[in-house]
Subunit: 339 residues, 2 copies
């Protein structure tokens, strides 16, 4: 029956409508909803009823404007096609949502330029916190971040620059997996990488360091492909590698997708795994436990990374200092039948 027609607006139910309905002031409704403890039980009951009855949905824009807090957290990951990041996102949501934060997901497609664009756009939402993957933001993005001055935690990698981060050492994990292959007696170990992001590159450095230490590093056993990683890519890269280094006795694939592609291609070529060629992957996809043979790989704590990073961010957003600026969650070698 209200006649007021403010603008063309779709006249959503507002706090004032609820207030009028209940017969109290708007601020009381606001409090009942946000800090229920500050309101009488009976009043709160009536308010809750009215909210339900009227179908009131708070307006986040208004809340954000008035309170200078958006209750939103931006998370930028390089890919959604990679189970690693999907699991991390799930952990983040599981951690932040119960605390009243909405997660805004951005997929940078491994492109610093896209990351910058997304960041610029998402900053318009006034996020209370930001979760980033790695440290490879471009200059513009770094400037944006600095001047936005919003609590930020970096995931997946570690460094000692004082930035908050939760992850594990990519270098060490690459080194350890290579070391494991050496310990098993493999001497001509190849390395296959695609999608040359910073973490891939660091794992490659770990591989190189281990082989150099053993006096066994040979550049022609290494192939790095800038194209995205995929099973098909793994098959192609095996072909390429065997052309230039036919005598490899093991291959460290920078992730499980590639490793699976290599394994399937070996089946086609009747190369016995691991007898003629051992295969190791990275990241431990669910599937990797089920192939024949099961794939040796590195389990990375992606869910834990999301949890811990989100909790660290929660601390920062609350204005507290986390116990430590860097959290190393480690990794685990899963030695299975493919090596």
């Amino acid at each position: 029956m209200t006649d007021r027609k403010p603008r063309a607006g779709q006249s959503r139910v507002t706090l004032n409508d609820v207030a009028a309905h209940v017969g109290v002031s708007a601020i009381t409704i606001s409090r009942a909803l946000n800090k229920p403890a500050l309101v009488t039980d009976s009043l709160r009951q009536r308010i809750d009823d009215a909210v339900r009855q009227l179908g009131y949905v708070p307006n986040r824009a208004a809340r954000s404007l008035a309170s200078a807090r958006s209750h939103s957290v931006v998370v930028l990951v390089p890919s959604l096609s990679n189970a690693v990041f999907v699991d991390t996102l799930a952990a983040i949501h599981d951690t932040l949502y119960p605390r009243g934060y909405q997660t805004l997901i951005g997929d940078t497609r491994y492109a610093p330029q896209d990351e910058e664009t997304l960041l610029r756009t998402y900053l318009e939402y006034n996020p209370d916190g930001i979760l980033l993957t790695g440290f490879d933001q471009n200059d513009a993005a770094s400037t944006l971040l600095r001047s936005a001055d919003i609590p930020t935690v970096h995931m997946m990698e570690l460094d000692d620059s004082g930035r908050y981060c939760v992850g594990f050492s990519q270098f060490d994990s690459g080194y350890a997996l290579t070391r494991q292959l050496l310990d098993k007696g493999y001497r001509r170990i190849g390395f296959l990488a695609a999608q040359l992001d910073p973490r891939t590159i660091k794992r490659g450095e770990g591989y190189r360091a281990a082989l150099r230490e053993a006096g066994l590093y040979q550049p022609h056993r290494e192939i790095a492909e800038a194209q995205p990683s995929s099973v098909g890519q793994g098959a192609r890269l095996l072909d390429e590698l065997l052309r230039q280094a036919p005598d490899c006795d093991a291959i460290f694939c920078n992730n499980d997708d590639l490793a699976l592609g290599v394994m399937f291609e070996c089946q086609r070529r009747h190369i016995a795994v691991p007898q003629q060629l051992a295969i190791a992957g990275f990241n431990n996809l669910e599937m990797s436990a089920w192939t024949n043979p099961a794939l040796t790989t590195v389990a990375t704590p992606r869910y834990a990374i999301g949890q811990v990073a989100a909790n660290m961010l929660l601390e920062l957003m609350a204005g507290r200092q986390p116990d430590s600026t860097t959290v190393d969650l480690g990794y685990k070698l899963l030695v299975r039948d493919s090596t």
Copy 2:
């Protein structure tokens, strides 16, 4: 130098700051940014410079409040671990971002209750449009949608209730794949499903219809598991199926994950594929072309669905009527060596 300290606020650069810097009024800055044509070239140049120099980032909350348009679109998908939805999301972003819309992604985890919760939360952002997966919203969610009165397009499935939707017939695709197996001469065709979402169920109905038509339907060849689908689940379900129907000559797996698990398990059991047992999947994961044998499956137009749905939403948000309320994008049988 400004002394005004309005509240505790972090004093971000605002339109007014830019205006002061350039020496014009705030509204002019606003126009220069949103409708550049309405402002002199030289002025616009100066404004752009100032914006860059000051690092001005628009405040979406304020814009949204003042204009009653949020330039945000909410997209709800049941899973991010499924390449299908990830590809659809990519298409949506590719379509909407250039048109000035930010995509807000929600993962419902195949749970209508979670979908309702997410919807409720995301409605607070005042989205200009909504993209949903399927039609299985629960009552509360449907009520929310109705009273929000926001343009909405449903993806993946088709119906004729008048709701806007873009997808393909799940029933038909399940029917067609089964029909194809029948045509190849298979007579004792099993069906494996996990994660019993509505689309899975409809494909199962297609399977049943085709077999009934041929007089070959036998309930004991069908296993439906409510747990999420995975490669490991495929291996387990094969075991279960072979117990109750050891003489199956083909299996229709409701998605490629399951099919891969079945294939790997067959390798372990030395069951020759397709000679002893044919395997078909659904959705065409990248990997499915590379296994041994390559997997017969159904290619679904997931990227196109995202594109077309986003474009339809764009029409609706612009206040126009799309040409048609329903768009059927079809599917394609990919018959490969596993059948």
